[in-house]
Symmetry: D2
Subunit: 138 residues, 4 copies
């Protein structure tokens, strides 16, 4: 398994009139978390796109257990639990830094691999390599 911790703060722009983070904002932080996880693995998403591979989201979901407020310091634990040939599944668990045992939110995104012409393709070798290498290390 690959695990990465992305730290962020809830911003005023994220909070609605209930005083908690608006439900779609989590997906934006999921994106930041998986982008930084890939850089940490040694392969940026920017490089993948430069190689002609895009990873559009084909499915996303989120479960909301608690409502974090403005300026809360949160961590999004980001995990790849299995390597698939034709998709990437990424799991997200959001906790507050001052209460790391209480899950605030859990989510998942599934990404396809497609070429610039939109045709589906397999997991690129460069990505498979860094995933395999990191797997061994952990």
């Amino acid at each position: 398994m690959i695990r990465y911790k992305y730290h962020f703060k809830v911003r005023y722009k994220d909070v609605d009139q209930m005083g908690v983070m608006y439900y779609s904002r989590y997906y934006e932080y999921y994106e930041a978390a998986r982008t930084d996880m890939m850089r940490d693995l040694g392969l940026t998403y920017k490089e993948l796109e430069a190689d002609g591979i895009m990873m559009p989201v084909v499915h996303s979901e989120s479960d909301y257990m608690a409502g974090p407020g403005f300026d809360d310091h949160l961590t999004c634990i980001t995990e790849v639990r299995e390597i698939h040939k034709n998709r990437m599944e990424i799991f997200y668990t959001v906790v507050a830094d001052d209460a790391p045992n209480k899950v605030i939110n859990m989510g998942k995104t599934i990404h396809a691999f497609v070429k610039m012409n939109g045709k589906p393709t397999r997991i690129p070798k460069s990505l498979k390599l860094v995933l395999d290498n990191t797997w061994e290390r952990v």
Copy 2:
């Protein structure tokens, strides 16, 4: 079943560098769609909140079949398929106005009913009433 059609256009702010709508924006249009559906039913979400009832999202999900681009004219078909005592489930199907038989996106949100103090409660009578009445009409 209750069904409402929400029409919208994809804005420049919604589109990413792949030229398609960014994955979290759908959730924002789901919100607009269910808000307008409730007004159409005869009970605004604003009135519900004024009555001390909030409907926080406890689950959201979305499946992406195609990528609509800037200025595409879309319709989000919004449905309530069953009335539940302690939650509301809303389904969304997004199609392009010029190709209404091809599904672009499908989603779902589940909402709890809570009082202003955060305590869970049952579906408010005012909401149950408008849902029941509309059900009979259709």
Copy 3:
């Protein structure tokens, strides 16, 4: 002068914990307003881009006189007051539909004309034409 009225509703996603529209959201509605104004003039921004012309924002500003809340029905009066050779200036005045004489917000965007290679260019003939034609009509 060219004037267009864009109607919109404040969404839950737009409102912060003060209960009023967050300050950057106005700029998103300005975009929707000017896009629909151009379609109304007879030349969509999509067509302009297809002709190889982009209109990036080089300056934006906004003054906030009042704070509209969730589900408020607003109108963004969108104006072109002068035709310039190398830029387009668009003015925005936001009022509530139930109090049209009280200005909620005023804004302005300035747009350059650039070719797809990023080089600055003059106002495209197609745009100048629809502006001139509309001017005469009014």
Copy 4:
């Protein structure tokens, strides 16, 4: 003068189909920058709100000189240049980390001080104190 450097990365959600950061996103990063500047000064905006003082934006503006792309590493230099009795003016200069002498964007926000009942008030003592103290230090 007070100066704070806020570091951030351009996210996929921020970039439009021209491949550059969408014009309203800068204002969201301005917010993050000033919030972190205040925490760095020793007085969080959250504490100010807890003390019954809000600082709504009454004016915002931005000038766009260059278009940063996805995953660019940027710094928003955030400055308070003068202390005013009834408002706070904050200036923002955005540069790329790998080209710190080329200004990408410059902006400004003006904030009023208001009590929870919406009435205008003077700069709160707690804020004046941390500003004065930091001024002396620099």
